[in-house]
């Protein structure tokens, strides 16, 4: 009994902590909790660069054009628009009732102000080149915006859904300067306004009562919880503390699928997983046959079925299947069986000057992750079986890999991926323009550049598509990269959430969702 004296403080402590957990069960019915896998680096539309920051910004702001729950384009701040016959200008008509979270009207000038800052080099915006084809943005009056283009940009509407092209509240910027996007300062024009932000933990968004479509916004409060570990997301989902996960752990995936059934949402996603070659150095410089041999010897069906098994699809093209108004060109060998591919691959490998006596000596670099390692091991063994050489696997921390990719000195084969920025083949193909900063392999083809240029000059959508498809054919024939598979988006969505739409962009605006009343 005397021992109790020792433990009394501890018991008091535990009793204290066990009490106050009942305070928000009443509100739970109108609060949506969703996980994001990293903290947004900034809610400044021009400083944000991670997919997670963009996800939060899509709740806070709205561009001229927006998306439906299923990812279709729909009017946003603009209620209608017309394109000029030559495709070189668009006139947007803004809603009279579009308002900022402080009640001010959203005007055409707010858009021209924002785009000016986006393009200003001093801003240092990561998406500064995003609107490089836009020559001017002119506010004809408060509700009319004229956008002029250097060349027809059929994906302009899709670009205008991107947070980098959202409007800015000029008054807020004038008052707070670069600190305008902090909690307490941020004036936003979307369905929600920023209530609080605890870095590394939680962003709380509250309904923006001035939003033009407020009447159709069901959920009052949205919490974006920063949960870095996939297993933590799963645990909190299972404990009923979050309604939507941003991903699902790859371990025990089959079990998760069995346990959650309909709650597990898997959908094709605009993201390609690929192995890039360093095209600027031996052994791959000027060796298209060798590059083709390596590409053909990878059994992509085995990768997606045996190694991944979550619904991913094998990639025989660079542009993912599902991109708006586009039919990806596929490798000419896509119809062959893997045995047939391996035979040709062996021949090409020999023609490139390699043999069992003189095997290729090559390194595969990938960043730390169980999935990346499993893929690398599988590819290594496929190359060994089909071509008879042993690739060396080099695991690097992500920033080290990026630095090596950029330097193009050490890298030979590297793992990477590309997520689309907008729903158009251009966001994928433009990576390989000779002057693209994201062209890590160092691909440079006059023919490809020329086809891309021609595509950008077409007003006619069908003709443009033909040029893009032709550009992709050139890219694939040059074997600049080995596309391995197309990602799927993976979410657990609570049965109490309604209005969820699986879509190729993997955008899920909170304003489209609603919550079933508690039973």
């Amino acid at each position: 009994m005397k021992l109790l004296n020792h433990y009394l403080p501890v018991l008091v402590l535990l009793a204290m902590t066990a009490c106050g957990s009942s305070d928000d069960s009443d509100q739970r019915s109108s609060v949506l909790s969703r996980a994001i896998s990293t903290d947004p680096e900034s809610l400044d539309i021009h400083k944000a660069r991670s997919l997670q920051a963009l996800d939060v910004l899509r709740d806070l702001g709205e561009g001229l054009v927006s998306h439906t729950a299923s990812g279709e384009l729909t009017p946003g701040v603009a209620e209608s628009w017309e394109m000029a016959d030559d495709g070189l200008s668009y006139t947007f008509h803004l809603r009279a009732d579009a308002k900022w979270s402080n009640g001010d009207p959203v005007t055409a000038a707010d858009f021209s102000f924002a785009v000016k800052r986006l393009k200003e080099p001093a801003t240092g915006a990561f998406y500064a080149q995003f609107l490089s084809d836009v020559t001017s943005l002119e506010a004809l009056d408060d509700q009319t915006l004229l956008i002029s283009l250097a060349q027809p940009t059929p994906y302009l509407l899709s670009l205008l859904t991107h947070p980098a092209t959202f409007p800015m509240h000029a008054g807020g910027f004038a008052e707070h300067g670069e600190r305008f996007a902090r909690p307490g300062n941020l004036v936003s024009n979307g369905a929600y306004a920023l209530e609080a932000w605890v870095p590394g933990s939680l962003l709380t968004l509250k309904r923006n009562p001035h939003y033009w479509n407020n009447a159709n916004t069901a959920i009052d409060e949205v919490r974006h919880l920063v949960l870095v570990q996939e297993s933590t997301q799963l645990a909190r989902y299972r404990a009923g503390e979050i309604d939507i996960t941003s991903t699902v752990p790859s371990e025990n995936f089959a079990e998760t699928r069995k346990q959650f059934g309909e709650q597990l949402h898997i959908a094709p996603y605009q993201n390609v997983y690929y192995y890039g070659y360093n095209l600027t150095r031996p052994p791959f410089r000027d060796k298209p046959k060798l590059r083709q041999a390596l590409s053909m010897a990878v059994d992509r069906e085995v990768l997606v079925d045996k190694v991944l098994g979550r619904g991913e699809t094998p990639a025989y093209s660079w542009v993912p299947v599902g991109v708006n108004d586009y039919v990806p060109t596929v490798f000419s060998y896509a119809d062959l069986t893997q045995d047939e591919r391996n035979q040709i691959a062996r021949r090409l490998y020999k023609e490139a000057g390699y043999s069992d006596e003189n095997p290729l000596d090559v390194e595969i670099r990938y960043n730390t992750s169980d999935t990346h390692r499993a893929i690398a091991v599988a590819v290594q063994s496929m190359w060994r079986d089909a071509l008879g050489f042993d690739a060396t696997l080099v695991n690097e921390e992500f920033q080290v890999l990026l630095a090596n990719m950029k330097a193009r000195e050490l890298t030979q084969v590297f793992r990477s991926s590309w997520v689309g920025d907008y729903d158009d083949a251009h966001t994928f193909l433009s990576v390989f323009l000779s002057d693209s900063p994201s062209n890590v392999p160092g691909y440079s083809s006059d023919e490809f550049d020329d086809l891309m240029l021609r595509a950008s000059q077409q007003v006619d959508a069908d003709l443009r598509r033909v040029y893009l498809e032709e550009a992709e054919r050139v890219l694939l024939e040059d074997h600049a990269v080995i596309p391995l598979y197309f990602y799927v988006s993976k979410h657990l969505v609570s049965p109490r959430v309604e209005g969820w739409g699986d879509n190729f962009l993997d955008y899920h605006y909170s304003q489209h969702l609603s919550l079933k009343a508690a039973d």
Binding site: H6, V10, T17, E41, R182, P199, R223, A235, F398
Partner: protein
């Protein structure tokens, strides 16, 4: 005593300076930079951004600039979070780590010292062995195993406690992280206390006290506890510093916005200033706590004062 403390304090300055310079050189030597990304920005944009953080200057100049800012108490802007300064981020992260750490340490000392003393008094008995086996288990099972198991059992299966921190209301969210953090400390402190207590109980002055007819309770409380606490105390300095600056694993498993997670994410993101800021903060804390422990030593053990 004052002179001793002052002496130690003065030594802290060059120590800290050395830590800062080494840390500065190390973060800058790591390959990759804070603005590298799969979707590379335009070279002009990258140059502008890097210049705005003075990354285009030679390293010694950057170091000088950093130290100059530091003297004025400025830890610089975060490279990863352009809207936050490093001081703000530490200011956000530290309170959570502090609260958790303080509660965990309190729990660890109370339970650890009691269990250790309890076991020491019954040396060799079954209770002793049970307590020590528990302590051994507590030390050996890593936190990244304990935490998910506790979550699975108490949050997912039984729904007694929240599984995570962010978005959970009330103080219940403290329970699992505090227990997880405290477990290995309880175990360690229990073992330290037991060993030290057994040693002290065998000393002559305790025998004298017994011969004078004092009961076990007052012998422990009046005579044995203080000297037996000395090893525990010297362990506590660095342990408190470590626990207060946050456990990466506990913070990531429970989603707590503490300094540990910021430090690791900062290192992965090459957020030079954030990493440096936390290193400096941590180093200062360790130096300060060690100093406090040394002073307390003098309070508890008069012999130290006289030396």
């Amino acid at each position: 005593m004052m002179r001793y403390a002052l002496h130690r304090l003065l030594w802290a300055i060059p120590t800290l300076l050395l830590v800062i310079v080494l840390a500065f050189l190390m973060v800058h030597a790591a390959p990759g930079g804070p603005f590298d990304d799969e979707r590379a920005p335009h070279p002009d944009v990258l140059a502008t951004v890097e210049a705005s953080y003075h990354l285009d200057e030679p390293l010694p100049q950057q170091l000088g600039r950093y130290l100059y800012g530091l003297i004025q108490g400025d830890l610089g802007p975060s490279f990863r979070y352009p809207n936050y300064s490093v001081s703000e981020l530490i200011g956000h992260g530290f309170p959570a780590s502090l609260k958790l750490g303080a509660l965990a340490m309190l729990l660890a000392v109370l339970v650890g010292v009691s269990a250790g003393t309890f076991a020491a008094l019954r040396q060799g008995s079954l209770t002793d062995r049970a307590v020590m086996s528990f302590a051994m288990t507590g030390i050996s099972i890593p936190v990244f195993v304990v935490a998910p198991v506790l979550v699975l059992l108490l949050a997912v299966k039984l729904h007694w406690l929240p599984a995570g921190w962010s978005g959970s209301a009330g103080a219940a969210k403290y329970v699992l992280p505090v227990i997880t953090l405290a477990l290995p400390q309880i175990a360690y402190i229990a073992r330290l206390t037991r060993a030290s207590m057994i040693d002290v109980l065998g000393r002559d002055f305790i025998r004298t006290a017994r011969a004078q007819g004092l009961g076990t309770r007052s012998i422990i409380r009046v005579h044995a506890l203080k000297p037996a606490m000395l090893p525990v105390l010297s362990y506590m300095g660095p342990a408190i510093a470590a626990i207060l600056t946050g456990s990466v694993v506990v913070e990531q498993v429970f989603g707590i916005p503490g300094l540990g997670a910021s430090f690791v994410q900062g290192a992965l993101n090459r957020d030079y200033t954030l990493v440096l800021g936390i290193v400096i903060f941590y180093a200062t804390l360790i130096i300060a706590l060690n100093l406090i422990v040394d002073v307390l030593y003098g309070v508890i053990d008069p012999r130290v004062r006289q030396q």
